[in-house]
Amino acid sequence: MEYETIIGLEVHAQLLTRSKMFCSCSADYANAPPNTHVCPICLGMPGVLPAINQKAIEYTVMTALALNCTIAEHAKFDRKNYPYPDLMKGYQISQYDAPMGQHGWLSLDIDGIRKKACITRVHLEEDVAKLTHRTSSEGENYSLVDVNRSGVPLMEIVGEPDISSPEEARQYLMKLRAILQYLGVSTGNMEEGSFRCDANISIRPVGSTEYLTKVEIKNMNSFKAVYRALDYEAQRQREVMGKGGKLVQETRGWVDDKEITVSQRSKEYAHDYRYFPEPDLPPLVFDKAWVNKIRARLPDLPEARRDRFISQYGLPLYDANLLVDSKWMANYFEECAKIITGSKEADQKKAKIASNWILGDFSRMLNATGSRIEDTKVSPTQLVEFVGLIDNGTLSGPAAKAVFEDMFQSGKTASEIVCDKGLSQISDSTEIDNIVTQIIANNSRAVSDFKAGKEQALAFLIGQAMKASKGRANPGMVREILLQKLGGK
């Protein structure tokens, strides 16, 4: 039987507020020693009370608006009760039946077709402490509690079961992350845990409208892990059904190094969170004028930016999509594009060259060095100068590559490097003539092959000439002069 896959994603994103959700401790605990960003409030000591961080409310409303949600006129916080040593108060302050945003959507690009993935709700809660499980040298198991993370504002974005493949899921997360980054509300860093994803996945016979048993997948710590885990799980469920088996409703964890999901049911309690309204916090009231003010302040979002990159700078859809996936890469590109001057056509040509480099060698080198474009030594002005040297023929292929590598490492400008290393392109016809004459003399076999009609021999000769010039010769001129001398077309 043919099955189709149905996926719903739940994303938790830590908000980039300066202080925690309900106390004044710094929320930036990334490099802090354990239990140094704590106070009686986030430790849940007797008698403490929460006081709402307004910035977190604002960030959540911004996100809900960017995700096309309806903003509630009245929202409230609730207590979600469950005992666990990572939960300081024995309950988590969350939002149950009156979230801040509802009924939104996010647009995906599936093979050039636009698809709306619906968002059920956007709400705000507090993060919990971090447990580290250890085994002592005597073989005794114990756990350490780091409370730094406790009380960091955590936004939950719940998607409808609208997603029909692991690839769509990956794209949904990329788009969502880009939106959060554009808004400046979250780093969206999955590896560091500031952007977390749980998935519900089920399959059903094609054409059926009923869901089969759904399985929840946890522990996916990268975009790749989400893709692999969902891919694995969709297959696993098909296999179970194919063998006439029965799917169990359960929570499964993704095991990254084994690339499988395993059941985590571990006698999971029939969870009854006993939600009730948080009596320590007054209900939230969202005034229309305030919401409109927030809406007016929303920055350019990825989709709008992509469309602008296409219309304003003439980029192909493919380039524009890739660039806008990262706010910083898009910012970088846009700064370059703004510096480029000339006629509209010349601008667009240069912008495309800049885009090629940003998405190509530049990205590759950033990845290889584990660095970020926002910290690079190559300023947009420098990249634009470099693009100019390519555009006017001063630099070509291999030489350009060498120059860029040097720029990336040293932070020097392209012209400095070209000057230092004498790397500028040779476009002087006499000089090229000399090189070509030499090549013809040294490669009589290839010359005769060419004359006998073997077209590939020409490419070989051009390559030899380029090599002899250390890549500096203008390849077009080399070809032209070679053909002249060999009496070809």
């Binding site: 007797p46 008698g47 009370l49 040593p85 108060k89 024995g90 005794e140 009730f276 009596p279 916090l281």
Partner: protein, 486 residues
């Protein structure tokens, strides 16, 4: 000067200001009194003698150098559910028997800003759950008017400390009557301010939407001075009201002209002790004499649902508020196991007393899936109705007058095995917490040597009116001048 411990705040302040006494002398007198009577009444769980004398010396320095505040240098005892930095805050529970908070409750900060002198921490029912202070895990407190009787609760230690002249005043907390009922049982003045008037930050939570801190004092004037000191908006308590605090002493006018008072008949409950009804009716006639217009035929029919609603709402909130005591971070921790869950369970099994566990179970049940609508949600609706009923009656009346409790102090042990009888002890006080309005109790008589209290209930954030009524009554009567023979 003799008997300094018997002074009121007002008297002590005058003497301190005129430098006729020092705070150290006053503090020593109180500590001496404490040493003398504490073995009979057991009001305190912690006596912070050294700290008190240091604070008194500090206060004396302030007094000699500058203008003094009304509470500067005056000895106080604090209910042991308000966090005091560096001083144990036990909530009279095994769970927090050795817990020393690293911070001060907002009310403590406010009193410290006036250079208070803290003599110690007062006994209470464990986590403020109870009406007799017999639920203290440490020891019971005795009523100074009859040592065989309970002092009421949960702020029993605070009320006794004031009635027995161990302290000049005290702070209590009131979730369903926990200030008013013991103050009534001990013949002192006690007020539960409007919910939101006083910051709850640092008050160990029992039922967050009902808890409120308030003064327990020897006179109504003293009550206004303490209320002035502890009231006001606190950014750390989002439920505290952002309203300015009036100067409460200005409300103290000794006549009741143009005040309309309502007497809700539902508060003169069936089974109420005869002497209570007679005493409170006599007191009301006194109010009439003082110029108030009294309507004896007021009805608040939803009052009868208050007790049931309260015992859903308060335990529900408590079940969450007390979830943090798991032995992991502070307080009692059961160690004799290798299993985390067992350690957490045993910590709670042995750390909490029976009444606390009863309420946690009640609340957990009421919030459970399938029961939430029938219990918690229904109780919230009842709460809305009770609030509306109070609001409507306050359109007609400036205040409502009732007894503070249906009986005089009962014998120790008399009701410990009958929780419902014990709960009924708060039947006149807990509707007020449900409505969130302010109310206070003043001494209004005795039956067989045991105190009777009159409760005065006011509009939201209108403590002035009830203080005015209490003050006029106090000026016209002598009950507050009686002292227990200890």
């Amino acid at each position: 000067m003799d008997n300094l411990h018997q002074l009121t705040i007002t008297e002590a302040h005058q003497l301190l200001k005129q430098k006729k006494i020092s705070s150290v002398e006053l503090t020593k007198a109180s500590l001496a009194r404490l040493a003398k009577v504490e073995e009979k009444v057991h009001a305190c769980v912690t006596i912070s003698q050294d700290m008190a004398l240091k604070q008194a010396a500090e206060a004396d320095k302030i007094i000699s150098n500058s203008e003094i505040e009304p509470l500067t240098g005056i000895p106080v005892i604090i209910k042991d559910n308000m966090c005091t930095r560096g001083v144990k805050t036990t909530c009279a529970s095994r769970m927090l028997e050795d817990f020393i908070p690293p911070y001060d409750a907002t009310v403590i900060q406010k009193l410290k800003a006036q250079n208070m002198v803290m003599l110690g921490k007062a006994n209470m029912d464990e986590f403020a759950m109870g009406s007799s202070t017999e639920n203290s895990a440490l020891f019971p407190t005795h009523n100074p008017w009859n040592l065989d009787c309970v002092p009421g609760g949960s702020s029993g230690g605070s009320a006794v400390a004031v009635a027995a002249d161990e302290a000049i005043y005290a702070l209590g907390s009131d979730t369903g009557g926990s200030i008013r009922q013991p103050a009534g049982f001990c013949s002192v003045v006690g007020m539960k301010p409007t919910y939101g008037r006083v910051s709850r930050f640092g008050l160990v939570a029992f039922a967050s939407s009902l808890d409120q801190i308030g003064p327990i004092t020897k006179t109504v004037t003293d009550c206004t001075l303490v209320l002035n000191a502890i009231s006001g908006h606190d950014p750390r308590d989002s439920t505290s009201a952002p309203y300015p605090v009036p100067e409460y002493t200005k409300a103290l006018i000794p006549d009741l002209k143009n005040l309309r008072l309502g007497i809700p008949r539902e508060y003169f409950v069936e089974g109420m002790q005869k002497e209570i009804r007679t005493s409170v009716e006599t007191a009301i006639r006194k109010l009439e004499e003082l110029g108030a217009e009294v309507d004896w035929e007021v009805s608040l029919p939803n009052t009868k649902y208050a007790l049931a609603a309260y015992y859903i709402l308060a335990p529900s909130e408590a079940s969450a508020n007390l979830a943090r005591y798991d032995g992991v971070k502070y307080g009692f921790s059961y160690q004799d196991t290798n299993n985390m869950w067992e350690a957490m369970e045993k910590t709670r099994q042995f750390g909490f007393g029976a009444e606390v566990k009863r309420r946690i179970m009640l609340g957990t049940y009421a919030l459970s899936a399938g029961y939430y609508d029938a219990y918690y949600l229904k109780a919230q609706k009842v709460r809305t109705l009770i609030k509306q009923e109070f609001d409507q009656s306050f359109e007609k009346y400036d205040a409502l007058i009732t007894p503070t409790s249906p009986t005089v102090p009962f014998k120790l042990g008399e009701k410990v095995d009958d929780p419902v009888q014990m709960y009924l002890s708060d039947v006149c006080t807990l509707p007020i917490n449900i409505a969130g309005v302010p109310a206070m109790t003043v001494p209004a008589g005795f039956a067989d040597g045991l105190p009777i209290g009159m409760q005065i209930i006011g509009r939201h954030f209108n403590e002035e009116t009830i203080l005015r009524i209490a003050f006029a009554y106090e000026q016209a009567t002598e009950w507050h001048k009686r002292k227990p023979a200890l």
